[in-house]
């Protein structure tokens, strides 16, 4: 499944999608950034409630295919602009983290 295909599900909203054709091979859930960098795999969807600017660097360096902000977490405009510039896909959802992970698990 591509990030674009995931974004077509009505539960997920696009915040920015500069690289829609990136493949999704699984998901990783976490808010501690170093933990995520240590454990997330390239091409995972990273589900988190963290939304500060460092999330963009972590997403870029870990090579995740997409960040999914759960539980209606929003993003500041400057963070969004940086994500676009760095080619980081970001979606949001009102689902709780567990529900979001279960949903994605059923789709891939």
């Amino acid at each position: 499944m591509t990030v674009y295909e995931l974004s077509q599900n009505s539960q997920f909203n696009v915040l920015t999608l500069p690289e829609p054709e990136r493949e999704i091979n699984g998901a990783y859930v976490g808010d501690l950034l170093s933990w995520v960098m240590g454990r997330a795999q390239a091409d995972n969807v990273w589900i988190t409630i963290m939304s500060n600017i460092n999330v963009i660097a972590v997403a870029s360096l870990s090579d995740v295919s997409c960040v999914l902000l759960a539980e209606d977490v929003t993003l500041d405009n400057d963070v969004l602009a940086t994500a676009k510039e760095k080619g980081i896909n970001i979606l949001s959802t009102s689902l709780a983290i567990f529900e979001a992970a279960v949903k994605i698990s059923g789709m891939i």
């Binding site: 170093s34 240590g38 390239a42 963290m50 660097a57 360096l61 870990s62």
Partner: protein
């Protein structure tokens, strides 16, 4: 690649939000050199963790990345307070980061362990009151 390539960066100690710029630049440079994506990922994550450490603990520092034929070497130098007990600092979960850093999602005590995890060789030289030099190698 017959000659080695060296990239040098100054890591700004004042701006936590811009930490990672050197690592992201390295990622781009290594991509241009056509290196394997997993190697690039390992180098750039290890370097980012080191950068973050220099910003949190040492007021910034310098980073050098040397690309050789069979390995990539990352050298991070700072003039910070030094590491009191390296063995303890290497344990997952051990952290001396302040609360405001933790609220940003860092300071979980995973930085140095991640640097070790993602590199083939890592050496820490540290002197209290003088600073720290971390040398890491990722084989290509």
């Amino acid at each position: 690649m017959s000659e080695e390539l060296i990239f040098h960066f100054q890591v700004d100690g004042d701006d936590f939000t811009s930490a990672g710029q050197a690592s992201i630049q390295i990622k781009k440079n290594l991509r241009r050199l056509g290196l394997d994506p997993e190697t690039i990922r390992r180098v750039s994550i290890a370097m980012y963790e080191g950068e973050i450490n220099m910003v949190i603990h040492a007021g910034g520092g310098e980073a050098d990345v040397k690309v050789c034929e069979s390995y990539i070497e990352i050298i991070l130098k700072d003039n910070g307070p030094g590491i009191k007990n390296i063995e303890q600092a290497m344990q997952e979960g051990f952290s001396t980061a302040p609360d405001q850093i933790r609220s940003l999602g860092f300071g979980a005590g995973m930085g140095l362990p991640n640097m070790k995890r993602y590199t083939d060789d890592m050496k820490i030289e540290s002197e209290l009151g003088k600073g720290t030099i971390v040398t890491m190698r990722v084989n290509i």
